[in-house]
């Protein structure tokens, strides 16, 4: 026994976390990035790890030993990727690396009572900015739909470990969405395309450039008549510049922007309204009445993060609150935040828009709308009372109201909405229009049609694809895989060996954004420079490098190309007068180039007449007829499939329906009844549907979605992948198989029938109702303002002092008393916090089977409750993590002191002391503790380990874990300020969830500081404690959600 006293090495939880790192600071060329040969080893290790793992006694041997195994070392040397240093694969532990001077330790061999001799490996040349153990932060940018969101990336010894938003960035304001948080997984992904190939033969970059040179020479002959480029929609100045230069060189060549989730309705609609293409920009801060027509502006899109912050700003009682009306078929993040929600099929939204226009048209001063509405030829939908109420509310807030139409909606709707916004004098205040920043205003599925036709008619010899995976995302009727086969040369920039890579002739491993140089624009035009945090793990190349290959500059490298182009553009940037090198350093450092934003168009005249005549045509072409409607949505987690290989996102419960590792056919309860959908296993298991539409059919498991429009099915894109992505493949079904280019977003006439068999979902929450327990309090403003209302009394009751047996511990003498507040009024349930927490705290993913068993590990659970009738429920979301109770029920039942209280009142969880009785979890009334039922960590590929947070222990099998209020951040900050000899100031210490939260719904800080934000927010009149009656005295408090109901529509 005695030998165990000192925790024999093989039993350290962390052993599973070990990843190999050796710094030898060979700074590569002109850049600041540090290429760590160790990284290559990690990669090498990963290759072999799978093999080596088998022979390991996984349940107690460590990955470090795994990587130390000679077999592996051999493998490593063999598998060495190009450009790796000659450093012999020495195996090093992540943490000890830190411990010793940017060196590392190799746990040699087996558990002896005598500790093994370990190595310490220092740098040869340590880059001056690197202080081993202290993180560095670099600015960069990334975006899904052509715009870039400013990011700040935390890096430990050259390895990006955490992503935050850039506070100076227009679209981020310091927060991030789900995808940005998950970028790390995309970077350290062992499935990434690693080898440049031509027809499956490995190829060097140099010879690729050679062949491209030959190719472009041939194309130059006929001005590139048969040269085509298929790119992502982009606003990147550099990309646009390259485009311009390529078109100068190949005048007849064509560029097509394409993203399967881009909607063309807005562009066309606004063109109709204003006679030219413009981009709408929304300012929610100024909007006191917002009407969303099938627009999920809080849940998705480049503006969503900022939109949430601005929307949340208007949800504070005691100040004028904004009011949100949402018209949509299926519940969305926006829909959940609505004060009033009207469920309509996507196809009926047009009818609603016209009905609203008509209604407004009847009111004095809105005659111009009457005309437009008239063109609607009586197409109408929606409850007149509702519409009437909305109309009057809009008029009441003329000039500070806002209508937003969704990406899915056709031009007609956007045109009408533009007209209404104009009529309401919203243009210039809540909505502005600017000349498009995107290269092509039209980039939706329809944009692919002309290209397809050209290919079909053999007019394309070379197709360069930098767009994401068109073979998978393209509308099925185009049969894009067959088409590509017809093109003699296809060059594909592949993040993964996906469906498109399978048919492309040249497959070029794409550099990850964190490995790339480039630039991007925010939605207001502000430019951010994209800088790499790490040398490409596997030789990866950026779009810039591929495009410049056609300008004969492929060997220049993205860095050089970018720098040159900005050196040239320096003069265009106001205020950037200094020496270019300084300016450049500043731009790169800040992450934004101030002064590059573009002004909205002044003096735009709405052309009502044009709309009137355009409308008729548009509506006649709009989908009609009966039958069931199928509508497609970009998935909240994998978007169009590009994030499908991120286990974090796959396992993230869908913000609305709490699905993990799946997509579903969402249908209304009524429709489920008529179809005879069966539900088993306590709401986990649903019947499978056969959906037939035109000549296409898919099997899709049904999921009953309260608040869904009847006779309509909503299908999320991005699943049912067949590429060589180990995480993504086999998850869900491919809704795209129903999607045609004629109606890419929704259409009627689908046939739905029950298939045999049931489908088991990995739902993290299968109870919809609060069972009259009201853990999440929602009330109306009217109710709230009446001090004697039921809701108000409930809140009072839940914040009252409770009788105590013995005096509560006195924390007032401590320097800090940590506490948190979560504002349910602001929280939209977008779930960015969950991923942020997962990234910060090295939380493992467990896979669908384990989620079904109820063993998901995310520390934050965003609970979603329905109330009212199922057909049209009110929704409330409630993020729930450890409440850090002062009289924590979990603590007194732990037999080994593994969870106890800190002097500052944190509920501490000591992993290395935990023996895993799970008693604490049983006794936790909030059920926020998570248990490592199996070994969820040691199988993590070594390359993935590079991205783990060195400040947080990786938990081993059989250990309990839970939210710690990011204690690692507290302790590091404490040390820093104490060395500096001061106190932690309010706001300089943020938890991961707080920092990531777009809405700013989470406050964290020192309750002993009367001026701190958290103290103030806990004094808010909406504040209450969860399960307060149990006397747990939680440190986390909630602010009740107050709905700003329209009196005309308020029920009862």
């Amino acid at each position: 026994m005695s030998s165990h006293d000192q925790d024999p090495p093989q039993d350290h939880p962390e052993d599973h976390a070990r990843s190999t790192i050796v710094g030898n600071g060979a700074s590569s060329g002109s850049t600041r990035r540090i290429s760590l040969p160790i990284v290559d080893e990690a990669l090498a290790a990963t290759e072999a790890a799978s093999g080596a793992a088998r022979e390991q006694r996984k349940y107690w041997r460590s990955i470090a030993e795994k990587e130390g195994s000679p077999k592996l070392a051999a493998a490593a040397t063999r598998e060495f990727p190009p450009g790796a240093s000659e450093l012999p694969p020495s195996d090093v532990s992540r943490r000890s690396f830190m411990k010793l001077f940017g060196g590392g330790a190799a746990a040699a061999g087996l558990a002896a009572c005598h500790p093994p001799q370990e190595q310490a490996i220092p740098f040869v040349r340590r880059p001056e900015e690197v202080t081993p153990g202290n993180a560095l932060h670099f600015a960069t940018a990334y975006g899904v739909e052509g715009f870039g969101m400013g990011l700040i990336v935390e890096s430990h010894e050259g390895r990006p470990t955490k992503i935050e938003g850039n506070p100076d960035h227009h679209d981020s304001l310091g927060a991030t969405g789900r995808y940005e948080q998950a970028l790390l997984q995309g970077l350290y992904d062992n499935d990434r395309a690693k080898q440049l190939k031509h027809k499956d033969q490995p190829l060097t970059w140099r010879s690729f450039l050679g062949q491209m040179a030959v190719l472009s020479a041939r194309h130059a002959a006929d001005g590139g008549a048969k040269l085509r480029f298929l790119t992502e929609p982009t606003a990147s100045p550099l990309q646009l510049e390259l485009r311009k230069r390529i078109l100068e060189k190949f005048p007849k060549a064509k560029f097509t922007s394409y993203s399967s989730i881009a909607g063309d309705g807005a562009a066309d609609g606004l063109k109709l309204a204003y006679g030219k293409y413009v981009e709408a920009r929304h300012e929610l801060t100024r909007a006191s009445v917002i009407v969303s027509l099938d627009a999920d502006f809080l849940g998705e899109g480049p503006e969503s993060v900022r939109a949430q912050r601005q929307f949340a700003a208007g949800r504070q009682t005691g100040a004028p609150m904004n009011r949100l009306y949402v018209v949509e078929p299926a519940l969305t993040v926006t829909g959940m935040s609505a004060d009033h929600r009207l469920r309509l099929r996507a196809g009926d939204v047009a009818g609603f828009a016209l009905a609203l226009a008509t209604e407004l048209g009847r009111r004095p001063g809105f005659a111009q709308l009457a005309g437009i509405a008239g063109a609607g030829r009586g197409v109408t939908a929606g409850d007149p009372k509702w519409i009437g109420a909305v109309a009057s509310d809009l008029i009441k807030h003329r000039g500070q109201s806002l209508l937003i139409a969704g990406r899915r909606q056709p031009a007609a709707v956007h045109a009408v909405v533009a007209a209404i916004n104009a009529a309401l004098d919203n243009v210039g205040t809540t909505v502005t229009y600017a000349t498009p920043l995107l290269a092509d205003p039209l980039a939706g599925p329809k944009a692919l049609v002309p290209l397809a036709e050209e290919i079909a008619s053999g007019q394309v010899d070379t197709l360069v694809i930098t767009a994401y995976n068109p073979v998978y995302t393209a509308p099925v009727d185009l049969k894009f895989d067959k088409l590509l086969a017809r093109v003699p040369t296809t060059v594909y920039s592949a993040a993964y060996e996906d469906e498109t890579a399978a048919v492309a002739s040249y497959v070029i491993p794409a550099a990850h954004v964190l490995e790339s140089w480039g630039d991007a624009r925010a939605t207001d035009g502000t430019v951010s420079l994209v800088q790499p945090l790490i040398a490409p793990l596997w030789a990866g190349y950026t779009d810039v490098e591929i495009l410049s290959a056609f300008l004969g500059e492929g060997d220049l490298g993205a860095y050089e190309v970018l720098r040159r182009s900005w050196a040239a553009k320096q003069s265009t940037v106001p205020g950037a007068t200094a020496e270019f090198d300084q300016v450049w350093e500043k731009w790169v450092g800040d992450g934004v180039i101030v002064g590059t934003e573009t002004a909205p168009e002044a003096a735009l005249a709405l052309d009502g007449a044009a709309i009137q005549q355009g409308l008729g045509a548009l509506l006649s072409s709009a989908p009609k007829g009966g039958g069931i409607e199928i509508a497609f949505v970009p998935d909240y987690k994998v978007v169009d499939g590009r994030f499908a290989n991120s286990a974090w996102l796959q396992e993230l419960p869908d913000p609305v329906h709490k699905i993990t590792w799946d997509n579903a056919a969402l249908i209304s309860p009524a429709m489920a009844k008529t179809l005879g959908v069966e539900v088993e296993r306590d709401n986990d298991k649903f019947s499978v549907l056969v959906i037939e539409y035109k000549d296409r059919r898919v099997h899709a498991p049904a999921l009953i979605a309260p608040g869904h429009a009847d006779d309509a099915i909503t299908l999320a894109l991005g699943y049912g992948r067949t590429g060589a992505e180990s995480v993504a493949s086999g998850v869900g079904f491919n809704a795209g198989a129903l999607r045609g280019s004629d109606a890419p977003w929704f259409d009627r006439g689908a046939q739905v029938s029950l298939a045999t068999g049931m489908h088991l979902f990995g739902l993290t929450q299968n109870h919809w109702s609060m069972e009259n327990r009201e853990p999440a309090i929602a009330t109306s403003l009217a109710e709230f303002e009446n001090a004697h209302s039921e809701a108000r009394e409930l809140i009072e009751e839940r914040r009252s002092e409770l009788p105590v047996i013995h005096e509560p511990h006195d924390y007032s003498k401590e320097q800090y008393k940590w506490g948190m507040t979560i504002d349910l009024g602001k929280c939209t349930g977008c779930s960015a916090c969950v991923v942020a927490c997962q990234a910060e705290n090295n939380i493992p993913t467990v896979g669908q089977e384990q989620v079904v068993r109820g063993r998901e590990m995310q520390w934050i659970r965003v609970d979603r409750y329905y109330s009212g009738e199922l057909e049209d429920p009110e929704v409330i979301v409630q993020p729930l993590m450890c409440q850090h109770c002062e009289t924590a029920p979990c603590e007194y039942v732990c037999p080994v002191n593994a969870t106890v209280h800190s002097d500052e009142g944190l509920n501490e969880m000591v992993y290395n002391r935990c023996v895993g009785t799970r008693y604490c979890s049983n006794n936790c009334p909030y059920k926020v503790r998570r248990f490592n039922f199996l070994d969820f960590t040691s199988e993590t590929p070594a390359v993935r380990r590079l991205g783990m947070n060195p400040e947080v222990t990786v938990r081993s099998r059989g250990v309990m874990e839970k939210c710690t209020y990011c204690v690692q951040r507290i302790e590091r900050k404490r040390i820093d300020v104490r060395v500096a000899g001061r106190l932690i100031e309010d706001g300089e210490l943020k938890t991961a969830c707080q920092q990531g939260c777009p809405a700013g719904a989470i406050e964290f800080g020192n309750l002993n500081d009367p001026k701190s934000r958290v103290t103030k927010s806990q004094a808010d009149e909406r504040r209450y404690d969860l399960l307060h009656e149990l006397g747990t005295r939680p440190r986390t408090a909630y602010l009740a959600r107050v709905r700003n109901l329209n009196p005309e529509l308020a029920k009862g």
């Binding site: 165990h4 006293d5 000192q6 039993d11 349940y59 296993r681 306590d682 986990d684 929450q765 299968n766 109870h767 109702s769 609060m770 069972e771 009259n772 327990r773 853990p775 384990q850 068993r853 109820g854 063993r855 659970r861 609970d863 409750y865 409630q878 729930l880 029920p889 007194y892 039942v893 732990c894 037999p895 080994v896 002191n897 106890v900 002391r913 935990c914 023996v915 895993g916 009785t917 799970r918 008693y919 979890s921 049983n922 006794n923 009334p925 909030y926 059920k927 503790r929 998570r930 248990f931 490592n932 039922f933 199996l934 070994d935 099998r957 059989g958 250990v959 309990m960 399960l1027 149990l1030």
Partner: protein, 471 residues
Amino acid sequence: MASTATSASTTNDPLEPIPLIEGAQTDESLNSSLLNHVWRLPGKGWWTLFGLALAGLGLLVVGITVTLWKGIGMWGNNIPVGWAFGIINFVWWIGIGHAGTLISAILLLLQQKWRTSINRFAEAMTLFAVICALLFPLIHTGRPWFAAYWLMPYPSVQGIWPQFKSPLVWDVFAVSTYFTISLLFWFLGLIPDLASLRDSSKKPMQKVIYGLFALGWRGSGRHWAEYKWAYLLLAGLSTPLVLSVHTIVSFDFAVSILPGWHTTVFPPYFVAGAVFSGFAMVVTWMVPARQFLGLKHVVTLKHLENMNKVILATGLMVSYGYAMEHFIAWYSGSQYEFAEFFEVRMRGPMAPVYWLMMFCNVVVPNIFWFKKARTNLLIMWVTALLVNVGMWCERFNIIATSLHRDFLPSKWELYAPTWVDWSIYLGTIGLFSTLFLLFLKFVPAVAVTEVKELRHELAHKAHGHAEEAHG
């Protein structure tokens, strides 16, 4: 020279309607008949049973290996249901164990003559049940290799100690004490019998082995004088011990704040339940055993009937416990308590277990109001079996059902045991049977010495009566 004491047929004793010892027995006849099953080579029956038991034991080994190898995740447990089969079986076995101590100790203190023929049997059962129970707290933890000693208060270099406010630490002390004391008690009672085994064994090898265990016992009067005291005191200590052990086990639940756990009635009601299931287990084993081991003349219907009476009594106590739980759940006015008992248990996904429990523990035992049932081997055996099932369901209800739906509906999950859960459960039954069969093979299943003593007393009494009769 055999003892010439008069035959001890006690049928004419008005106080003993059914004899405690049947037929005319002498010390020697008792000796030979009661030790006979030790000397006799095991028959087909024993071997088949033993084979089955070993198979069960195999399951246990497999189950435990898998658990240690892959982790506790191989069980059905999840969050919220952190405890399930592991603790259910732990409580179930401990409960079963209690009857043994009760019979041997409490009945001894109460000077119940009918105890003598079954106490050895019952004590053995206690011992083996506790062994089975002891397995679970250890293997159900996430890191048994630490749990094995971190719960012990020893001066580690980490300078940290167990947390003595946790009922789990109390458990460690309670259960280990219980095991130690039961073992000593059992062995102390065995010593004289081991001596007689030593002395009546034919083969030298057996002589040596039994001789070693007999510790050189020579029935010395001076020894008997102290021995009787020691035995009585151990009994005296075991009695509160057995009560405390299940009380403490019940604290595991009562001390928590979970609806369905946080209940003050638990200690007495757990003890009653323990005796209830324990006696049922004794009957389950005794009925076949007396058949096969030829113990009919010492384990008579009277013994069985008495046990059935205890089952009836404790059954009623348990029913009262249920009643109180439900009453308080309603009376407390706590919506969580109310929901737990009247919605989750009665109508939730696990309701069948609840109703099975109610049937087995509340309805079934009442059959023992009828003497016919109390004295009919088949009926009592089936009843006993049902009670065992029912008590297992009770633990399932308390533990798994309470956990799977507690305060916040958002984290309500189903629970379903896996094959590992089952194999470990059946495995412990295998372990229990193995030990039991070995016990039946190598150790006198009945306390020979005490039966002789009893015979002597009865004979005396009979003698006395006879004299009176002759005037």
